[in-house]
């Protein structure tokens, strides 16, 4: 899958974390939590740390805010492009249809003739501009993120029927250490990486689990 376009980042500012915690949306950026404490402003390429969100006193609000912050990674094109709600992956910052028009196949690794591994290697190819990482493949259809809300992604991620039977501890481990997930921050060839770092994402998800794994209110967006 190649990134050919130089379109501006689709990544949005993480300005509504507290609105998510409170279940409200369409608010101006806030940096003050319910308890009156200030949260740090971050750029589009950064994540608020789990430590920064720890100041939200209400446990459920804190949990929702932690997942909302993490969802800025999940909804970034580097991640969502391979979580399509269909049979073809996306590419680029504008979620273009994958070129060539491959399909997911029975095991989410393509079909004979155009398997993911027909082209994608275990590392990025800078000269050919073909992205790569170990075990390159699509997320199963049940894990589609394209067009989904943080609430929907959260419910999906917690549901063993849709997360390949993973426990919350395994979800933390997957986000923190999976090598294909790690590609999101090492996308190669000038592609915009996902916000923050994988280590930060792992910490956010770990803190989310520790705080009760609450999901953002439906309709709330990061």
């Amino acid at each position: 899958m190649r990134e050919r376009r130089g379109a501006p980042g689709r990544c949005v500012l993480a300005v509504a974390v507290i609105a998510l915690a409170c279940g409200r949306t369409r608010r101006q950026p806030e940096t003050t939590s319910k308890g009156g404490a200030s949260l740090p402003q971050v750029s589009a390429g950064e994540l608020r740390s789990a430590e920064a969100l720890a100041q939200i006193e209400n446990r459920a609000d804190r949990s929702r805010a932690l997942f909302a912050e993490a969802s800025r990674v999940f909804l970034h094109p580097r991640c969502v492009n391979c979580h399509p709600d269909g049979d073809t992956p996306h590419q680029g910052m504008d979620l273009s249809v994958h070129d060539p028009p491959v399909v997911r196949g029975p095991d989410d690794k393509g079909v004979v003739g155009v398997q993911c591994s027909s082209c994608h290697q275990d590392h990025n190819l800078e000269l050919a501009r073909v992205p790569g990482a170990p075990e390159w493949h699509l997320a199963p259809r049940a894990m589609a993120w394209v067009g989904k809300s943080p609430h929907a992604i959260c419910e999906q991620m917690k549901d063993p029927a849709r997360n390949r039977g993973r426990t919350l501890a395994q979800i933390v481990e997957h986000n923190a250490h999976d090598r294909l997930v790690a590609w999101g921050w090492n996308p190669g060839h000038g592609r915009e990486p996902a916000p923050g770092t994988q280590e930060q994402l792992g910490q956010l998800i770990a803190a989310w689990v520790e705080s009760g794994a609450e999901c953002p209110i439906e309709g709330a967006t990061p």
Partner: protein, 154 residues
């Protein structure tokens, strides 16, 4: 030193492990039937089999083939008698011919897994093999004819 099997013959290559497999096949082993097209895994002209699976050799580091079996168009049959090669000749599929080795190798992988592919199977499988001459209709017909030849030969 990288040891691999190419068209049934064990070969030892003293090359950079990151060298594209296509370079090793064409420039080191002299197997020029596999073509260099785009160099970006976008056209399929460089398609070969790695343990029976389709790979674009222009982006596949030769280290990935270590200890494995590579099949190129030269190794598809000893005398050009593979059903696909016969069907290709019978229907005069190629125009300029540059992409055809890749088209045939991808089709061979398809027939190996699906002896009687339909139009949709063929289109999905060959989605990554481009023909600038536009011989797609003849390619599709030839794949079906090869399937028929194979069936009759059983």
């Amino acid at each position: 030193m990288i040891t691999l099997k190419v068209n049934g013959e064990v070969r030892e290559l003293d090359v950079d492990p990151e060298m594209p497999l296509l370079w090793a096949l064409r420039d080191v082993l002299g197997l020029t039937g596999t073509k260099y097209g785009c160099g970006q895994a976008q056209c399929g002209a460089c398609t070969v089999h790695l343990d029976g699976e389709v790979v674009r050799s222009c982006v596949t580091p030769v280290r990935r083939a270590a200890g494995r079996e590579v099949t190129t168009i030269e190794g598809l049959s000893p005398d050009g008698s593979h059903p696909l090669q016969r069907a290709w000749c019978d229907l005069a599929v190629p125009q300029c011919g540059f992409c055809q080795a890749g088209q045939i190798m991808t089709s061979a992988a398809l027939l190996a897994s699906n002896p009687k592919p339909g139009d949709a199977d063929i289109e999905r499988c060959l989605a990554g093999n481009i023909c600038r001459c536009g011989t797609y209709t003849r390619i599709r017909a030839a794949v079906k004819k090869a399937a028929q030849i194979s069936e009759e030969g059983r």
